[in-house]
């Protein structure tokens, strides 16, 4: 008697992750998670089982690894040699290339960020950077929601040009503008790039699909020109307004928040510090706005990171502010801020605008920023992961879609392995208290565990082996797009 033959069960397109720690709320819980490559979304496993009578095609045992929602980077200027603000003939091709590389770092969606540029450049470049995960029919994206396209643009982040010239950072001062009215913004960015569009998907015929404007987020100085009047108009269009590169006083910052400012761009960099009778922008922290931190070990002192974390943990968003040299070896790289040729010198994690001594963005990946943040803030891992997932998603109004592993959300996820060193980070004490000579000696005594990088002041900074976070796998829209080679 031959054994009965069964027809193979129909493919459900569902993958089940098991034996893993899943980021849910503020904790990592041992749970399973089901994702669908058909819908590209996270599946409500219980109702799939009882209501749709489906079972996963494959179950993946993650051996106790961590599953986090895909990372969201709200401030990325470029990477792997490609700068979003530099228009080239092969811009679209290079953008596609970047997306495929970027996703391997765990960043599944991001806001391509433009520094202050001329109106001409905005109008040429912005159409390439429109949200790629929504069902639009733009000419730049090939197939919407194609996991193989790599990291997804959530829309552009225009950092400038409506900034305070006193806090221009490395932005070209001659590119900065002052807006009197909303028309001034339309003139600079192009009116169509500030307008949300509605599409009617052919298959349904009536469901309205609102596509956010190409410019998803604008960093501006609220105290400059007529910005206070313009902010509410931007907010009404679904554009996130962030204040930064600003000299705003506490009163001005408070007013701006009242007008709808939702975010503070790289907190404490390119803005006033806090003073006893003038807390400045820092004074409104905790009163609402989210804030970005460039936590690369260079931009901020560890104690500053810890302080910001403790003031308003729910609002903290880790951003890379990475330049196009992210992922490139140390060296001297050409860069233009729209006016002449400049050179950025990359040495370890530090980027310096040649001849100025100014920090010119960062070259740390988002994973490295999380590691640094963990060391400096003492925050637990799940909360650090929230700072690159749920918090930025909420800031962008994408809660439930991105940055979460709840059913119905996009199945963008990162599988991480995490190990924590027993050694405490000693950077602060070493840098502040030790003599030059002893520092070098200390660095030499444990060569295996240390990385020495010169910081912005030319001082040696010792990084002991801290928390070690490794991106093992990346999944986009329910499909595995990266797996680390052993």
């Amino acid at each position: 008697m031959s054994p009965p033959t069964h027809p193979p069960p129909p493919r459900s397109g569902i993958t089940k992750f098991t034996n893993c720690l899943v980021l849910r709320g503020n904790s990592l819980v041992r749970d399973d998670i089901w994702i669908s490559s058909v819908t590209g979304k996270i599946v409500d496993a219980q109702s799939a089982f009882y209501d749709s009578l489906v079972v996963p095609d494959t179950a993946i045992d993650l051996g106790g690894r961590i599953v986090s929602p895909g990372f969201i980077d709200c401030q990325l200027n470029g990477a792997f040699g490609f700068n979003f603000s530099t228009l080239t003939d092969d811009y679209a091709d290079r953008l596609r290339e970047l997306n495929k590389k970027l996703i391997k770092t765990g960043v599944t969606s991001y806001l391509p960020t433009l520094t202050s540029q001329t109106s001409e450049l905005y109008k040429k470049v912005l159409p390439h950077l429109s949200p790629s995960g929504t069902t639009t029919t733009t000419t730049t994206t090939t197939t919407p929601r194609n996991p193989l396209n790599g990291a997804e643009s959530l829309g552009a982040h225009a950092e400038g040009p409506f900034l305070n010239p006193l806090r221009n950072g490395v932005h070209n001062p001659s590119a900065l503008r002052t807006a009197r009215s909303f028309t001034d913004l339309e003139d600079v960015y192009g009116a169509e790039n500030l307008r949300p569009t509605t599409t009617t998907p052919a298959e349904t015929g009536k469901m309205m699909n609102v596509v956010p404007p190409t410019v998803r987020m604008i960093t501006l100085a609220p105290e400059v020109g007529g910005m206070m009047r313009v902010i509410p108009k931007l907010v009404r269009r679904g554009i996130v307004v962030s204040m930064g590169h600003s000299e705003a006083s506490y009163e001005q910052a408070k007013e701006a928040v009242g007008k709808g400012v939702r975010m503070v761009t790289h907190l404490l960099n390119a803005m006033r510090g806090m003073q006893q009778r003038e807390p400045g922008i820092l004074g409104v922290l905790g009163a609402g706005p989210y804030f970005g931190l460039v936590c690369d070990g260079v931009h901020l002192h560890p104690a500053t990171v810890k302080l910001a974390w403790n003031i308003h943990p729910e609002g903290l968003i880790l951003v890379t502010d990475a330049m196009h040299v992210l992922g490139l070896p140390d060296g001297r790289y050409p860069w233009t801020n729209g006016e002449g040729e400049h050179w950025i010198v990359k040495k370890g994690r530090v980027l310096e605008l040649e001849g100025t001594g100014s920090i010119a963005g960062s070259s740390s990946s988002l994973v490295e920023c999380i590691e640094t943040f963990l060391r400096h803030s003492g925050a637990p891992l799940p909360l650090a992961l929230r700072a690159v997932t749920a918090t930025p998603a909420a800031m962008l109004g994408l809660q439930g879609v991105k940055g979460t592993l709840d059913p119905g959300a996009d199945a963008d996820l990162v599988v991480l392995s995490f190990s924590e060193s027993e050694e405490e980070e000693q950077v602060v004490n070493k840098v502040e208290n030790a003599e030059e000579g002893t520092k070098s000696a200390a660095a030499e005594t444990t060569p295996g565990n240390t990385v020495t990088t010169p910081n912005a002041d030319g001082h040696e900074q010792k990084k002991q082996r801290g928390p070690d976070l490794v991106v093992e796998e990346v999944w986009k829209f329910g499909v595995r797009v990266y797996r680390r080679e052993e």
Binding site: P4, D32, D44, A45, Q46, S47, F49, Y50, L53, V54
Partner: protein, 426 residues
């Protein structure tokens, strides 16, 4: 009935889980011949489910060809409600094992026609060939599934109102708010459970002790619905030590002894599956289901018990129910001549003599007084030290305290038992 006592809840749960795994594996289910498993919810089976999951992950059992039927579900709360029994089963069992959803059956408490839902459920059970093994728990009031006190013991699937005590007990799952506990539920009936070829009941903790005593030592009574299990030919109760707190010491001792013997027995008679019932099925047995008579170890015990006819836990012979189809593990074990003689009263086989000769089992002295039961040896009882047939007036039963009555058993006037003869109060 088999009654297994383990030291703690973990050991009791492990025994049940191992037993189920063993039964499934011996059954060797196929798609055409699946193993139908009845399942309970509540806190009692959690340990069992956990071990089942571990065993599945260790590759010791597959649920590919297992069909499950759950006992009950609340009416009117959505399936995805955190306290629905759909969610419970998903969380604790189904999401972790390789069972296919089309093999999973849980009553739909949101069905437009609840009565039809119940009828269909019975039909589905029949279509699956009847339930092979029904795992059950027990409420503090002795209920099985949602068959609250007073439920018909002959009931099939039905709609039930929850008793106040059950609502209170379950309110711990609803944030302590008894008002949010559904007041009605769909449940399999007592008879549906009894129709299973085997019933395994897990009883854990001191709070279940009283109910266990009523169901095990008391008579069949609709106020303690699990007591209907006494009518099942192939039932097993597994409990922890805490659950035995209300039982008589000799009950506990007796069943522990029985289990020891059964283990010796099993060691050279491996378990048989129920797929091929032998010809001499128990349906040929003639003992009526409900005419149990007092089977006490000494005449002195009779007065307070005989009239209520509620003591038949010593009888180790299986009885028939209206089921003709059952033929399960224990029944076959029981056919081993050591302690269950030929059910035919007219043929006294040698095995009966074996039984009588055994030091551990003595013929029940009271059984000779039972009218219409010509086979006294059928009522073997364990011998207890110091409890001879000519034993004296020793009253060793606390249950008799405060009871002084004259009981008539089979027309024989027994001596009254005086209160003062009791060994102190409590």
């Amino acid at each position: 009935m088999r009654f297994i006592i383990r030291d703690d809840p973990t050991a009791a749960s492990a025994h049940v889980a191992n037993y189920i795994v063993d039964r499934i594996n011996r059954f060797s289910p196929t798609p055409k011949h699946p193993f139908a498993l009845g399942l309970p919810t509540g806190s009692t089976p959690l340990g069992v489910y956990q071990i089942l999951v571990e065993k599945y992950k260790a590759g010791e059992v597959s649920f590919e060809n297992v069909v499950t039927f759950n006992m009950d579900e609340y009416i009117g709360i959505p399936r995805h409600h955190p306290e629905s029994y759909h969610t419970f089963m998903w969380k604790h069992l189904f999401s972790h094992i390789n069972i296919h959803p089309r093999n999973v059956h849980i009553l739909n408490g949101n069905a437009p026609d609840l009565a039809a839902e119940c009828t269909e459920y019975e039909a589905k059970i029949r279509a699956a060939g009847g339930i092979e093994l029904f795992l059950a728990g027990m409420g503090e009031d002795g209920h099985i599934a949602f068959n609250e006190p007073g439920s018909s013991l002959a009931s099939h699937n039905c709609i039930k109102a929850l008793s106040h005590s059950t609502v209170l007990a379950n309110s711990r799952f609803f944030g302590g708010d008894s008002a949010s506990v559904p007041r009605t539920a769909l449940t399999v009936g007592v008879q549906t459970v009894l129709n299973a070829r085997e019933v395994v009941v897990l009883v854990l903790g001191p709070r279940k002790a009283l109910a266990l005593q009523r169901c095990l030592e008391g008579g069949v009574n609709h106020m303690w619905t699990l007591s209907a299990l006494q009518l099942h030919p192939n039932a097993m109760i597994v409990c922890d030590e805490d659950a035995t707190l209300e039982l008589q010491v000799k009950t506990v001792k007796y069943f522990k002894e029985i289990e020891k013997l059964a283990q010796d027995h099993d060691s050279h008679h491996p378990l048989r599956t129920t797929t091929n019932p032998p010809k001499n099925a128990m349906s040929t047995a003639t003992t009526p289901a409900l005419t149990t008579s007092p089977t006490n170890t000494s005449p002195e015990d009779a007065p307070d018990r005989g009239s209520t006819s509620d003591e038949h836990y010593y009888t180790y012979n299986a009885r028939t129910t209206d089921l003709d189809t059952f033929m399960a593990h224990f029944t076959q074990e029981a056919s081993e001549p050591r302690w269950v003689p030929d059910p035919d009263p007219n043929t006294n086989s040698d095995s009966d003599l074996d039984l009588a000769d055994d030091d551990d089992f003595v013929p029940d002295s009271m059984s000779s007084r039972i009218i219409g039961d010509p086979n006294p040896l059928r009522r073997a009882t364990p011998s207890s030290p110091g409890e001879g047939q000519d034993d004296d007036d020793d009253v060793d039963d606390e249950m008799m305290q405060g009871v002084a009555e004259v009981s008539v058993v089979e027309g024989t006037l027994m001596r009254p038992v005086e209160v003062s003869r009791g060994r102190g109060l409590m």
